[in-house]
């Protein structure tokens, strides 16, 4: 199982780190105003928005190579939540595009969204 690349600091993300937990609820409302609700997901799914700044060319190349190896959003890899340390084995890139910017020598930035998959 591939792992999301780590930065030269040993971290996988920088602050600010945006983490989303998602449930799916099906709600049916009756004519008298009452509701019946049920869960669609047995467990919530997580999503991390990782904005990385001040990356050098080595780190940018590593992220780019990982994206290519995963074939965009079709590949599956393990991602460790930087906040909790919990490893989620079934994750993917959310998008099929990876843009990165080189602002100066050794000064790159990239933004990726990692999503936890169901099943």
């Amino acid at each position: 199982m591939a792992n999301f690349p780590v930065l030269r600091t040993g971290a996988v993300a920088q602050y600010p780190l945006d983490t989303t937990v998602r449930y799916a609820t099906d709600a049916v409302r009756f004519v008298d105003g009452k509701e019946q609700r049920s869960r669609v997901f047995s467990q919530p799914l997580r999503r991390w928005t990782i904005a990385l700044d001040l990356l050098d060319e080595t780190e940018l190349a590593a992220v780019e190579s990982f994206f290519i190896a995963q074939a965009g959003s079709s590949g599956v890899f393990s991602f460790t939540d930087p906040g909790t340390g919990t490893a989620y084995a079934n994750c993917s890139f959310e998008n099929d595009e990876l843009q990165w910017d080189l602002l100066g020598p050794g000064n790159g930035r990239v933004r990726v969204v990692v999503r936890e998959n169901r099943g």
């Binding site: 080595t58 940018l60 290519i68 959003s73 990165w100 602002l103």
Partner: protein
């Protein structure tokens, strides 16, 4: 050979430069949130957005001439990625892209200066100097920087070479037991459409090499690991049919260039 020109500074692009990798995934999402996915490899592409400022008349004329020859998006040209290592498989020098002297023996997976194991130990068991070399289909007349981290327990010297059919330039490097990054920069004359980057070992020498890198610029960037492909795209296109140039003065122009390649991605 139609090729995106190098600027007078020796670079292909200016800061900031932007690169986008694109893939396509067909996704069938089930009611419970699970997915069945299919990777559509044929739809892969890579794009660059290059804001260029303060270009001289000669630089702008060269880009404009290429745009006219390709008629915008119609025809392809060779694009040397300004944000990549031009060499493929720089972590495994035994791959077929490398042309190695017959007396060279290699061991991969050697500890490297960045804490990984991407260095390669190369031994010249012959009685004459031996080279490990990779030929890239890129303009031989461009300015290139060939760099590598090298060390050797036995010391000695290594040569970094850039060669075309028209000539060779090289730099002799004194190696020690400590990792040291060395480079060789310059431009060759002629109109050759390929260039070879090589490292030459003295007879009996054993060296460890990490981060072999060739770039179309005057100085080395941080080392970039490569595998299947390097950074030369032989069938790139402009991603726009109109070229808008803003003249800031008689000798200074700005332009926004967008390039795309679906080949070698």
């Amino acid at each position: 050979m139609l090729v995106f020109p190098q600027l007078e500074s020796g670079a292909i692009a200016q800061f900031p430069a932007h690169k986008t990798r694109v893939r396509r995934t067909v996704r069938n999402v089930m009611a419970d949130g699970s997915s069945v996915v299919f990777a559509d490899e044929g739809a892969a592409e890579v794009r660059w957005t290059l804001p260029l400022r303060a270009l001289s008349t000669d630089e702008m004329t060269a880009i404009g001439s290429l745009f006219a020859q390709t008629e915008g998006r119609l025809r392809t040209f060779t694009f040397v990625d300004p944000l990549a290592n031009l060499l493929a498989w720089n972590g495994d020098l035994s791959k077929p892209v490398w042309q190695n002297g017959p007396a060279l023996q290699m061991a991969v997976g050697v500890a490297d200066p960045s804490g990984g194991t991407l260095a390669v130990r190369v031994a010249n068991t012959g009685q004459a100097a031996q080279r490990l070399s990779q030929t890239v289909s890129a303009p031989g007349w461009f300015t290139y920087c060939l760099s590598a981290y090298i060390r050797s327990a036995g010391g000695g010297r290594v040569r970094l070479l850039r060669s075309t059919a028209s000539g060779t330039q090289s730099t002799v490097v004194q190696v020690s037991q400590d990792w040291k990054r060395s480079s060789s920069t310059g431009a060759l004359t002629g109109n050759d459409e390929t260039i070879a980057f090589a490292l030459e070992l003295e007879p009996g020498a054993t060296v460890e090499i990490f981060g072999l890198q060739a770039e179309a610029q005057t100085a080395a960037s941080a080392p970039m690991a490569t595998t299947v492909t390097g950074g030369v795209y032989a069938h790139a296109r402009f991603d726009h049919d109109d070229l808008s140039v803003v003249a800031q003065s008689t000798e200074s122009s700005d332009a926004m260039i967008r390039i795309v390649s679906t080949d070698g991605v």
